[in-house]
């Protein structure tokens, strides 16, 4: 594939290639992202029932997010390492602020109103948590054990609980997994991983007590959506009908009847994969998943090529989190995971998650393009 062969071992003798390289942009990753962004406009056009206004807003957001990505790609990874603790600290303080404001305001609160725009601190933690863990662990002897392990667990659990309390289970899950991925890549012993799995399994009934009613309902719904087709099960039933009716080759672009007739809710945001699956069928779905895998493969390649422990761990963590993103969204739309509000990365309509995602890719590009030349 073009995307795979275009890495810098093969010199790209073009004006554009040189320009992009000067911008600290990793060309294969950039190509993959552009491809999937282009696809997002095609799908969104159909999913929003050809609403140009939605496309326009999506375009503006994509551009802003891309600019942010390029800016981050410019930053030396050394600076990320240096400010890991600060970014994490600020993020946690903002989370506390949001929670306190929620206490005084009404009901759930995820936003911090900064006047000009609204900011979601939980998004920031998706990046700064793996940064923090990577920094902390890289300062110590690996693999982590004993005291370091305890500190790491606290560093992950604290923001996760704050976000889960908002309540935003989807984001909490992503933050936790981003931190856990870094610990895993740092070489957490298999024995601890094994006992952790057993422990969590035993803890599940206890955690169940802490879930809110609506969160429990989503799990009931997943297990048996037909039990409440008018209410909670509606999303999943309609989503499955849309996907299943798409068949192998799909109904064609703009041909989805389920979302058009208003059967499928949230068709432009969290459930956009169902629209895609209805229109482009199994082939389209397989293609999309492969495209995501290629992007992830490039990210993993970047992390393997990284030259020190911090950047290696951070790159690995970010790559894995991106996969978790894809997996959780598609999993919930096709009815194998509970409905937690996680958008389909780079495709769903909505600004905040796109900025965070592209920021992650910006950091990966920075890690890759700031390597010192070493003799091979």
């Amino acid at each position: 594939m073009q995307v795979e062969t275009n890495n810098e071992e093969f010199e790209v003798h073009s004006w554009l290639g040189n320009f992009l390289r000067k911008l600290h942009i990793d060309i294969p990753l950039f190509m993959g992202l552009l491809l999937i962004s282009g696809l997002s406009f095609v799908i969104l056009y159909s999913a929003s029932t050809q609403n140009m206004d939605v496309l326009y807003k999506h375009f503006i957001r994509s551009c802003l997010a891309l600019v942010f990505m390029v800016m981050l790609a410019h930053v030396n990874p050394y600076q990320f390492k240096r400010y890991s603790l600060v970014l994490y600290g600020v993020g946690v303080v903002l989370l506390l602020a949001v929670l306190l404001m929620g206490e005084f305001g009404k009901g759930a609160q995820r936003w911090l109103d900064l006047g000009l725009f609204r900011f979601q601190p939980s998004e920031m933690l998706k990046i700064s948590t793996p940064m923090m863990i990577a920094w902390y662990l890289s300062e110590h002897v690996l693999p982590p054990r004993g005291k370091q392990l305890g500190v790491t667990v606290l560093l992950i659990i604290f923001p996760t609980l704050l976000i889960a309390k908002q309540p935003d289970l989807g984001t909490a899950l992503l933050v936790a997994s981003s931190g856990a991925a870094v610990v895993f890549f740092a070489g957490l012993s298999w024995r601890i991983i094994g006992s952790l799995i057993v422990f969590l399994g035993a803890l599940a009934p206890v955690l169940w007590q802490f879930l809110r009613d609506y969160q429990r309902n989503r799990i009931y719904t997943l297990l048996n959506p037909e039990a409440d087709p008018m209410g909670k099960g509606y999303h999943i039933i309609q989503s499955k009908i849309a996907i299943g009716s798409g068949g192998i080759s799909g109904k064609g672009w703009l041909g989805s009847s389920q979302s058009k007739l208003d059967f499928l809710p949230e068709s432009s945001t969290d459930f956009i994969f169902a629209v895609f699956a209805e229109e482009f069928g199994l082939f389209g779905c397989a293609g999309l998943i492969v495209l995501y895998l290629l992007i992830i493969a490039r990210c993993i390649y970047i992390s393997v090529q990284a030259q020190d422990t911090y950047t290696r761990l951070l790159a690995g963590g970010l790559s894995f989190t991106f996969f978790v993103y894809v997996f959780v969204n598609i999993g919930m739309v096709i009815g194998v995971l509970p409905v937690v509000g996680v958008p389909l990365p780079l495709i769903s309509y909505g600004g905040t998650s796109m900025v965070t995602l592209l920021a992650g890719f910006g950091i990966l590009m920075s890690i890759h393009t700031h390597r010192k030349l070493l003799p091979t």
């Binding site: 209410g231 996907i243 995501y292 992390s303 761990l313 690995g316 996969f323 096709i334």
Partner: protein, 611 residues
């Protein structure tokens, strides 16, 4: 493995990382294959099934509306019933040509243009696959006419359902309230899933306050349908849970007596059982027929009701705010005694008017020549204004306000209805806040006879009277008998009240004075006492609708009816063992004793079983 805990071993770390990355990538690939496998299951194996479902959206989930709870009075009379009714419904998605269909239905069933227009307005607000009613209350003939031609009208069907009916009409319209079509705003706030099959929601009165309990839980039936959208197979089913039947504390016989007795006046009558707080009479006249509201009242009829000078839609018991006039005097007197500002024997000379020191303003007594030297008892019996001007001045507004507040004036009673008005009990603080003015001494004086800023609702007045009769044990009025209907979701909004710390001797003195309002030769309502086989305690009241200017003479015949004073009356009986407390207000009734008094007496007589 590196055994070195103190030195970082870069190479070892890199090796571990590499092995972990490989594990992670394998995991990623495996999970992705898992996703694909699920997609294959949905899109290849299940394709035929889901394609059928999608084609006609062929699993039709039809809601099964629950039966609304029935509302009874305390004797089992039905106040709100469900009667069978046929509704003509359309599913827009399944109607091939809407204009033609509507035109044909219109000629077939004689549907008025107004209904067609209403339907067209509703159309864009609903989902295309939702069922929308076109015509409610079909006659047997219409049902028969449509049934014959039904196959020619795809997407149109007749639904047999139950619709609300209020047999007592205007008599209890303000208590029971009514249900009406769910409007756009309610659509947003009501729990969507539970109202899938419901067209109606409680709009006022008990119907609104107890909506959650009366409505019940919607069931559903999941039908597999054929291409013509006719059900061929039930896939899944769950029965609706009917709403809870409510038993009100209201006594319809008493209610009717009260409502009839108010004839000729706009006004209100409330009766509360003193020992329990049960509201037996809750009459607001004029009422209105709630039945047209159920089907959507015509705009003309609604406008007439709204613009009528008599304000039939106005719930006077709950929301009418009136100056209490002299009915306030027993409470003011008690305030004087409890604060030890004066004794029961304290006398005041009444020359027919009262003046504050250093002020030319004359506060007039209703009796031009004055009452002479009066004791507190006589001041209540004869309703001497000057005595209470003087007492209010002695007490001061702060003590007066604080004491009257304990009887619930100036705040909602907390009865189980929505939209209650709090009335107004003036204070320095209130005046500074809402009028941005200092309190003037003259305002204290008129507060003593229930004029000025003071406003009470009939319900408040009845409650305060009941609390006085109950010797300070606060009576909490309520309408739904919760003992008969356990498990209500609607919370009892009313709080449990404390007992007012009143001196028994003071209460006895006030009650005895109120007995003599009826049973002594000089009482302002002595006419009611003739031949009465039990002792009644009462107080008359006359509330000024407008202020008589200084030195101007007041003549009842000369002023127009609408400007005449409101007649008020509070009473409880039997005086030695109080059972029922009553408050009556007849707007523009003139004098309280002669107009409102007889109404209260009729209610009490009937309650005590006296002809």
């Amino acid at each position: 493995m590196s055994g070195n805990y103190f030195l970082k071993n870069s190479l070892a770390e890199q090796r571990i990382f590499l092995s972990r990355i490989i594990v992670a990538f394998v995991l990623i690939v495996v999970l992705s294959v898992g996703l694909l496998a699920r997609l294959v299951y949905l899109q290849v194996v299940g394709h035929k099934h889901y394609a059928t479902l999608a084609k006609e959206n062929s699993i039709k989930i039809a809601p099964l509306a629950p039966t609304r709870g029935i509302i009874y009075d305390r004797n089992g009379n039905i106040l709100a019933d469900n009667t069978p009714s046929y509704t003509l419904e359309l599913v827009p998605e399944q109607v091939p040509n809407m204009d033609e269909t509507l035109q044909n239905l219109k000629t077939l069933l004689n549907i008025p243009d107004e209904k067609i227009e209403q339907f067209r307005e509703h159309l864009p607000r609903n989902k295309r696959f939702a069922t929308i009613p076109l015509l409610l209350r079909l006659t047997e003939e219409q049902v028969a006419a449509f049934s014959v031609v039904r196959p020619y009208f795809p997407g149109v069907d007749i639904h047999a359902g139950l619709v609300r009916y209020y047999p007592y009409g205007e008599l209890v319209s303000h208590v029971v309230g009514y249900v009406g079509r769910i409007n756009e705003q309610e659509l947003k706030t009501l729990p969507e899933a539970n109202y899938q099959g419901s067209y109606h929601v409680g709009k006022s009165g008990i119907e609104s306050a107890y909506e959650v309990d009366l409505h019940g839980t919607t069931g559903y039936v999941e039908n597999e349908t054929n291409a013509q959208s006719r059900p061929i197979n039930i896939v899944n089913e769950s029965d609706p849970v009917p709403g809870i039947n409510l038993h009100l504390t209201l006594d319809m016989d008493l209610q009717k007596t009260a409502y009839d007795a108010l004839e000729g006046y706009n006004g209100a009558a409330v009766a509360i059982a003193i020992k329990t707080g049960e509201v037996l009479v809750f009459a607001s006249r004029p009422g209105f027929d709630p039945n047209p509201f159920v089907y959507g009242i015509g705009s003309k009829a609604y406008k007439d009701l709204q613009e009528s000078e008599d304000q039939p839609l106005f719930n006077r018991v709950l929301r009418g705010q009136y100056p209490p006039g002299s009915t306030m005097k027993p409470f003011v007197a008690l305030a004087g005694l409890e604060n030890e500002a004066i004794s029961f024997q304290h006398r005041v000379f009444c020359p027919g008017a009262y003046q504050l020191p250093n002020s030319p303003h004359r506060f007039r007594d209703w009796k031009k020549g004055g009452h002479g030297s009066v004791s507190m008892e006589n001041a209540i019996i004869e309703s001497c204004d000057v005595y209470f001007y003087s007492l209010a001045q002695t007490l001061g507004i702060d003590r007066l306000h604080d004491f009257l507040q304990k009887f619930g004036f100036g705040e909602e009673t907390g009865i189980d209805l929505k939209g209650e008005k709090p009335g107004l009990l003036p204070s320095r603080e209130w005046k500074r806040k809402s009028l941005n003015q200092e309190w003037f001494p003259g305002e204290t004086v008129i507060t003593g006879i229930g004029q000025g800023f003071t406003q009470v609702t009939p319900l408040q007045l009845a409650r305060a009277t009941a609390t006085l009769a109950n010797r300070g044990n606060v009576v909490q009025p309520f309408l739904v008998n919760r003992a008969l209907t356990p498990g209500l979701v609607t919370p009892a909004t009313y709080p449990r009240e404390p007992v007012l710390p009143l001196k028994d001797a003071n209460v006895t003195n006030i009650i005895n004075s109120m007995v003599n309002v009826i049973h002594s030769a000089r009482g302002t309502a002595k006419a009611l006492g003739l031949g009465l086989p039990y002792k009644m305690a009462a107080k008359t009241g006359t509330a000024q609708v407008f202020t008589v200017k200084q030195k101007e003479k007041y003549n009842e015949d000369q002023i127009k009816f609408k400007l005449r004073d409101h007649a008020l009356f509070i009473a409880f009986a039997p005086a030695d063992n109080p059972k029922l407390a009553v408050a009556v207000i007849a707007e523009n009734g003139g004098h309280g004793g002669s107009v409102a008094g007889p109404i209260a007496k009729k209610i009490i007589n009937q309650y005590l079983g006296i002809k």
